[in-house]
Symmetry: C2
């Protein structure tokens, strides 16, 4: 019988970060290239600005992505994965491979 | 710029199935062995029976696991991954690997 996962269960730690379909889709997009908020919103059709903003802030706080504000007119914000965030590529690739088979 | 993912985006298809931390933890457990409802409930400390039951039914409807009812006293129900469900091992392994690094 599998016992309870300890608090530092690695699967659980990753699950906490990639929880929710929007987060996974944000990662999928940013693994390709850095993107602006408006580009992400367009790609993740159906996401509300509030939810998207909250997910981006969460991922930033976890060290998965960085947010860069360019003082242009109008201001431009770009999101880019950190080296840690890029390591999620294996997770997203495995998901893509599974999704191809169903 | 990444365009909207088509409806059959493989990452999105997988995300729909493994959405939510409980589902991921159910898969993690069942990748080791088949389990009873009570065993899963104990392993997923904090999950409500209602939520666990709903996630198991969803995964069954998606062909990810099978439910077998043994007519013992009291009745015993076992959950086991299908060959399709076992293919999610790559996703869970990649998550474990990432979780080990954070």
């Amino acid at each position: 019988m599998t016992l309870s996962c300890p608090p530092d269960c690695p699967v659980q730690k990753t699950a906490r970060i990639i929880d929710g379909k929007w987060t996974i889709l944000i990662l999928r997009d940013l693994l390709n290239e850095k993107m602006r908020f408006s580009e992400l919103q367009r790609s993740l059709a159906g996401v509300s600005p509030k939810v998207l903003s909250a997910r981006l802030k969460f991922l930033e706080s976890e060290g998965i992505l960085t947010r860069t504000l360019f003082p242009s007119v109008p201001p431009r914000t770009e999101y880019e994965l950190t080296p840690l965030g890029e390591k999620l590529q294996h997770v997203i690739s495995a998901m893509a491979q599974f999704g191809d088979e169903i």
